[in-house]
């Protein structure tokens, strides 16, 4: 049985990197006694896959991990057990049974929504929303993408699906997945560049709000798929 877990990552937990979050969940699932399935072979491991790594320093309301279990367990009981065994900063929010034909979380992601604010004392002297609005009227928004081997210019405009003013900063829905992956830091950097300033990524307070599957016309959050187990 395939299960999709949604959890939030807050506070000091933002300093725990993706690999350590994976290790954390392996141990959490054992402590909570969730009947997880194991792979076969010489060194069996828990069947578990995360939707999308979250960088160190980012918080999130919507992280997803798919697991497989060997016997049914009520969603409510599972959530309670997991949260009883978890630390402050990691809260399991849903535990849903996926239809047999559901694609795994990682393969199905299409977009992610972020809220970007600024650490106290590092607020910009302009409105990111206004500037992005202005930039969006241009035919393209080019950013320099650096890899270990090369540098290339990428137009991220088609990957910015929507954005709004959140009061303290900006909220944006960005393309992710294998085709065009836009990071919130890149958008902010290009806004600053547009203003002739340099953004310091360390001073951004970024929070992932949701991860979506579906299409640009019909965004479906990953926890809309699947049903609670009674």
């Amino acid at each position: 049985m395939k299960i999709r877990l949604k959890f939030s990552k807050d506070g000091v937990m933002k300093y725990i990197g993706h690999l350590d979050v994976m290790r954390y969940f392996q141990k959490l699932i054992r402590r909570a006694d969730i009947p997880i399935a194991y792979s076969t072979g010489m060194s069996p491991h828990q069947i578990m896959s995360f939707a999308m790594p979250l960088g160190i320093g980012l918080e999130s309301d919507a992280e997803y991990v798919d697991i497989e279990i060997t016997e049914p367990i009520s969603s409510k009981v599972a959530i309670n057990r997991l949260n009883d065994e978890s630390v402050e900063g990691i809260r399991v929010k849903s535990f849903k049974l996926l239809p047999d034909n559901a694609r795994n979380a990682m393969a199905s992601i299409f977009a992610a929504e972020y809220e970007v604010g600024f650490l106290e004392g590092y607020e910009p002297d302009f409105s990111c929303f206004d500037i992005l609005n202005e930039m969006y009227n241009e035919p393209c928004i080019n950013v320099l993408k650096k890899t270990k081997k090369s540098e290339s210019v990428v137009d991220i405009k088609p990957g910015i699906f929507s954005f709004s003013d959140s009061g303290k900063g900006i909220r944006m829905c960005l393309s992710c997945g294998s085709v065009l992956n836009v990071k919130p830091e890149s958008v902010i950097t290009s806004i600053y560049e547009h203003m002739g300033q340099k953004a310091d990524e360390l001073t951004l307070a970024i929070r992932r709000k949701e991860i979506y599957t579906g299409s640009q016309n019909e965004l479906i959050s990953l926890d809309m798929i699947g049903t609670d187990i009674e």
């Binding site: 000091v12 725990i16 054992r30 402590r31 069996p44 630390v87 360390l202």
Partner: protein, 622 residues
């Protein structure tokens, strides 16, 4: 929401910020307004090393069972954060509350190896606590040292207010009660220290004066008051089943060295290897009850979620219920898809059977620690392992499918000759040859892999070798090169890999292991020159150390290559471990004559540890 002592900008720029945030599963957070005593327990090395230490977990959990005490953890900030904290003058903090250590009542520092001593100074310095005990007042924490290095605490004497000699489970309650009394009744800090000296196992270095002969040896070691004890008896737990066990160990977020449940099955060792300090310090052997161990194991696996459990002791094969315990663990972990990692067990039919059940033979290796290359020298060090035993174990293992063997040796043992060194290469070769004789060509998958490693012997206090001369750095290296050459002469040299440790670190370890109070200024000088994390190859730097010895006019050779006379006053003579000086002398003579001493279960050799009234000394005397 939990606060952090370090700002977000700092945490996001240092390596592994998870080292500094606390919040781990099973870490203990109390209301600081509801406790009387704040205790910061420190392992002066990086988080991943410190978190792997069982002793701290035991004391942390125990102290936190006291309602009036909140014990938190402190580790050495790695060099990247060290620099930031010094530059920005940020005080060192404890992980749980993120509060500055300088505001605590106690700072306990465990001393597990000599090469962490500059890190001790770092912890004091970053905490903004005066380095010297004499410069502290009631506004500073009481700085207390524990762990194996406190059996010769003298090189650190000036930096600590107290040392706790022995096992921590016994007298912390008394010490904390005394502290509370002294703080509330208007006693001075010095009066508290003087009273603390009356608690068993507590050594207060400032209450003693040392004078020296013209040749540099100690002429007298005297208490400064009549009520200060001349001898400090180690504190020891005699009933290990009735004592405290940390069944809810902390689970780190990042991968640490010991990323598993650790089950301490016994303390002490019956073997009596003459080079081994732990084997002498922790006498007599005391076992934990096997039924309790089974329930601890299950509890700890459950409440940590770890996927592996390992056994801890000096010589697990000597634990009398080992088979029962291991059978239980194999069954328990097997059905839950967990793993067991076994410590180096004696290689025999039983251990090979267990290993073949729990691990992939192709990937695992066998470990032997002959320590010396010839039978003569193994008799000198009382390592009761013969070539026959090794070859017999190896042949069973080869027939069982193993193809990898690790061998551990020491160079620079007392009475060592070139023949003994050549023996290391010959023994390695004999094991390789055995493989090719036993396993027909058609059944081999490539070569057998023999990895021989050697460390340099460092004489330690409270061992029969405490009087022995240690080799110089040059002599160590010459020996290592000689062994390396001998390895190349072997017929099967292509199947053997030989590694040896760094000699410069071993020399320093030798200085501090048997050092005295005069070394504190060398230590402070070296720290001021930037020496830190000396146990790490990547950060160890020998030159500033050599400069520090020069500047302080302290001779390295005085502490290392000099053989002590049997009547010399040794810096650690005020400590009584239960093992008598007469026994150690007898063993030193036995060593020089190549006479072996039977293990504690085979026959009692009258070491003195029976004074504690329990353990192996009384096993069959009910």
């Amino acid at each position: 929401m939990k606060k952090t002592a370090l700002s977000e900008e700092i945490l996001l720029t240092v390596e592994k910020p998870a080292r500094y945030i606390g919040n781990e599963v099973n870490s203990i957070v109390k209301d600081k307004d509801k406790v009387d005593v704040r205790f910061a327990m420190c392992f002066p090395d990086v988080y991943e090393i410190g978190m792997s230490h069982l002793g701290i977990q035991i004391l942390y959990s125990m102290l936190n069972t006291f309602e009036d005490v909140w014990c938190e953890r402190v580790y050495s900030p790695w060099i990247d954060l060290n620099k930031v904290m010094k530059d920005l003058n940020i005080p060192l903090f404890a992980l749980e509350s993120q509060d500055p250590v300088k505001d605590f009542d106690f700072l306990g520092i465990t001393l597990q190896y000599e090469m962490c001593y500059t890190n001790v100074l770092q912890v004091l310095d970053l905490s903004h606590i005066p380095l010297y005990s004499s410069d502290r007042d009631w506004s500073h924490p009481i700085v207390i040292g524990g762990g194996p290095c406190t059996y010769n605490p003298e090189p650190l004497a000036d930096f600590f207010d107290l040392f706790y000699i022995g096992e921590g489970e016994t007298n912390y309650r008394k010490l904390i009660d005394l502290y509370k009394t002294c703080k509330s009744n208007g006693s001075t800090r010095n009066e508290f220290l003087r009273c603390a000296a009356g608690i068993e196992g507590i050594y207060v270095p400032s209450m003693y004066t040392v004078s020296y002969n013209t040749d540099g040896t100690i002429s007298s070691f005297e208490p400064i008051y009549d009520d200060i004890p001349r001898v400090i008896h180690k504190a020891i737990v005699m009933d290990l089943s009735d004592t405290f066990y940390p069944t809810k160990p902390i689970v780190p977020f990042i991968k640490v060295t010991q990323d598993r449940v650790v089950l301490e099955i016994q303390r002490g060792c019956i073997r009596g290897c003459r080079f081994c300090q732990a084997g002498m310090l922790y006498r007599p052997v005391r076992e934990r009850n096997v039924d309790l161990l089974k329930s601890y194991a299950a509890d700890m696996l459950k409440c940590t979620g770890h996927e592996e459990i390992s056994l801890s002791s000096l010589s697990s094969s000597d634990y009398s219920s080992l088979k029962e315990l291991v059978d239980f663990l194999v069954e328990y972990t097997g059905s839950r898809r967990l793993n067991i990692s076994l410590p180096s067990l004696r290689i025999d039919a039983f251990s090979l059977d267990v290993m073949s059940r729990i691990q992939d033979i192709k990937k695992s290796s066998l470990t032997f620690a002959p320590e010396a290359g010839s039978q003569r020298l193994r008799d000198v060090i009382n390592k009761g392992l013969t070539k026959e035993i090794i070859l017999d174990g190896a042949s069973q293992a080869f027939l069982g499918g193993w193809t990898r063997v690790k061998l551990y040796f020491m160079l620079g043992l007392p009475t060592e000759t070139e023949d003994d060194l050549r023996g290391i290469a010959e023994l390695s070769n004999d094991i390789a040859r055995l493989y090719y004789e036993l396993i027909p060509k058609s059944e081999r998958h490539g070569r057998v892999q023999i990895v021989a490693s050697s460390s340099f012997f460092v004489p330690k206090p409270f061992t029969p070798f405490q009087w022995a001369a240690m080799d110089s750095r040059d002599s160590f290296l010459k020996k290592a090169h000689f062994v390396n050459d001998c390895m190349h002469e072997q017929l099967n040299s292509k199947s053997i890999k030989y590694n040896y440790h760094e000699a410069d670190v071993s020399v320093l370890e030798g200085v501090f292991a048997r050092g005295d109070r005069r070394l504190s200024k060398v230590l402070k000088t070296a720290y001021e020159k930037g020496c830190l994390f000396d146990a790490w190859t990547e950060t160890f730097n020998e030159q500033p150390w050599l400069d520090s010895f020069n500047e302080c006019d302290v001779s390295i050779d005085f502490y290392t290559t000099r053989e002590r006379s049997l009547d010399e006053i040794l810096p650690w003579d005020m400590i009584d471990t239960g093992v008598s000086r007469e026994f150690l002398k007898r063993e030193w003579e036995n060593a020089l004559n190549g006479r072996i001493t039977p293990n504690c279960r085979a026959a009692c050799s009258g070491c003195g540890a029976s004074v504690f009234g329990g353990g192996v000394c009384y096993e069959n005397k009910a």
